[in-house]
């Protein structure tokens, strides 16, 4: 447990450095915020006044410090462009990304756990080769090509599901789930091979252990041995991969969000950089860094939950 606590402490400066680097990086962007706010033909005095009001002429480190203090108190500021609270704008997009991530990751696990166990149990047999081959094919299919194929088959030809757009969960839960099925399948399928492969090799290793031999020699049925005895000790690698995938998905779903026109965090980030909506970008990067840290710690805590030996 102490190791996990240490790592948590260690991750705080990492997250802070990410926000600092972002602040300095965004400072490099060409274009004047005041011109965007007031228009190109605004009188010089008005521009000057706005610059002073926003403290834009202060040194960049001073501005960062001010932003950081406010952010630690939970205030991420207001968008220069739309005037919306940054936290509010992030919250809306975060819900979409979260819903998409949960559906995709749930689907990936639903596929990966049975196939991983089966492939590990029947390693080298035809079913293992078939699954390994399928995993190879899907891993080699870039996600944007795969999304397009899914869209053609299920939205354009069969017309079962909407091709683009997002329906809010609060407005219409069923429609909301439907609007995310295709993107979630696209991401879930892309995540499946990695999950299946690590579970497969861990299962193969676990099945060589003495306690499995004991369980088998007691005459327990294979399904019981696999799910009740072999699965839990084989979960360490798959948990690591899930943690990495969750951290990557929050901003990595950009491609899928773009193809299916979903208002997620990835889209927000791109739109905000193009619009020079710097505080939104800063807030989004901070959120992503925090999620990365939390996902990492979650993995460590899960380790301890899975394998009691780690708790000491």
């Amino acid at each position: 447990m102490r190791r996990v606590a240490w790592k948590a402490l260690y991750m705080i400066p990492v997250a802070l450095t990410v926000t600092l680097v972002t602040y300095l990086l965004l400072n490099l962007l060409p274009g004047d915020v005041t011109a965007l706010m007031l228009g190109d033909e605004a009188p010089k005095a008005a521009i000057e006044q706005t610059r002073q009001a926003l403290h834009l002429d202060d040194p960049v480190l001073l501005r960062y410090g001010r932003w950081l203090l406010a952010a630690l108190g939970g205030d991420l500021g207001r968008s220069y462009i739309t005037g919306q609270q940054v936290a509010e704008a992030l919250g809306e997009r975060f819900m979409v990304s979260c819903q998409l991530m949960l559906m995709a990751q749930g689907l990936a696990l639903l596929l990966a756990v049975p196939t991983g166990i089966l492939a590990g149990y029947r390693a080298g047999r035809p079913i293992d080769r078939l699954l390994t081959g399928a995993a190879f094919g899907i891993v080699s299919l870039p996600i944007f090509v795969q999304s397009m194929l899914l869209m053609i088959v299920f939205a354009v030809v069969l017309r079962w599901l909407p091709s683009t757009g997002y329906v809010e969960f609060g407005d219409d839960p069923w429609g909301s789930l439907r609007s995310l099925v295709l993107p979630a399948v696209a991401i879930g399928l892309a995540e499946w091979p990695a999950l299946m492969r690590v579970l497969r090799s861990d299962i193969i290793a676990t099945l060589q252990e003495d306690f499995i031999l004991l369980a088998r020699s007691k005459g327990l049925p294979p399904g019981h041995v696999l799910f009740r005895h072999a699965l839990r000790p084989s979960c360490l690698s798959i948990v690591t991969v899930i943690g990495l995938q969750i951290a990557g998905l929050i901003n990595g779903a950009l491609i899928v969000e773009t193809i299916f026109a979903l208002p997620g965090l990835g889209r927000l980030l791109v739109e905000a950089v193009h619009a020079r909506d710097l505080l939104i970008v800063q807030g989004a990067v901070t959120l992503i860094a925090v999620i990365y840290v939390v996902a990492n710690l979650g993995v460590d805590l899960l380790y301890a939950a899975i394998d009691p030996r780690i708790r000491r």
Binding site: V14, T22, P30, P142, V156, A289
Partner: protein
Amino acid sequence: MTLLGGDRPVDGRFPGGEAAGASRKRPMGWFFWLCLGWLGLVVAAAVAADWLPLIDPLATDFINTSVGPNGRFWFGTDALGRDIFSRVVFGSRVSLIIGVAVPAISLTIGLFVGLIAGYYRGWLEHVILFYVNVTLAFPGLVLLLVVLAVVGADLLVLILLFGIYGNGGAIRIARANTLTFVERDFVAAARAMGASDFRIIVQELLPNVAMPLISIALLAVSGLIVFEGALSFLGLSIPPPAPTWGNMIAQGMSDLTTHPWVWGFPAGALFLTVLALNFVGDVVRGRLDARESAL
């Protein structure tokens, strides 16, 4: 041989008495040679594209717009009447250049930085690991967008950016391997004979630590080709009209079903290339790892 290979199969290898080392003598399957052949064809076409009798990939032809595949336009033409076959051939260049140059840079940097971190330990190692953690927690997309806005999309800029930014994984692997090899007897022997740090790092550790990185190099190439495809698809790589597989596929999005050849052929080329790289890469990794585990 069976000491390590027998009781725990290396990932991807089939168990059943067959030692990992034995696979070295087994002939490669036909699929391996097919993949290698395809890769050879793609590389040869990309290198020789200028001398091949191809239609100019940028030339528009407003009489033959969106024509299906035929004898003159093998892969058909796009909405501007540009020849898709020629664009697929020329488009492979960007994918291959980024796919080869970026891993070459990031694996080399990762190798040396990881070696130094693992050999000297101490505060230097902490600084390096801190850097790795920051790059892993930082959304690369923001970095890319800012660099594109400040410098513009240039092949060299993209290569340097990904090569320098994306080396966190390689540093981790190299450091972890260095930590295990430093403990080995041959390093102690070299040290006892009075070898300098530099000599130990370059002569003793480097060849051993480089091996696992070399074994994943081809997989890194395929990963980068997919990544570049995704960026082009989003319009964040080399700007049009220069053809890349990714921007050709994106262009086909507008008439997904009516003109499937516009995106189908570049998507097929991308898929086959990535599949071939993954397969060949997996075989290579299996063999290099087998050699290592037989040490």
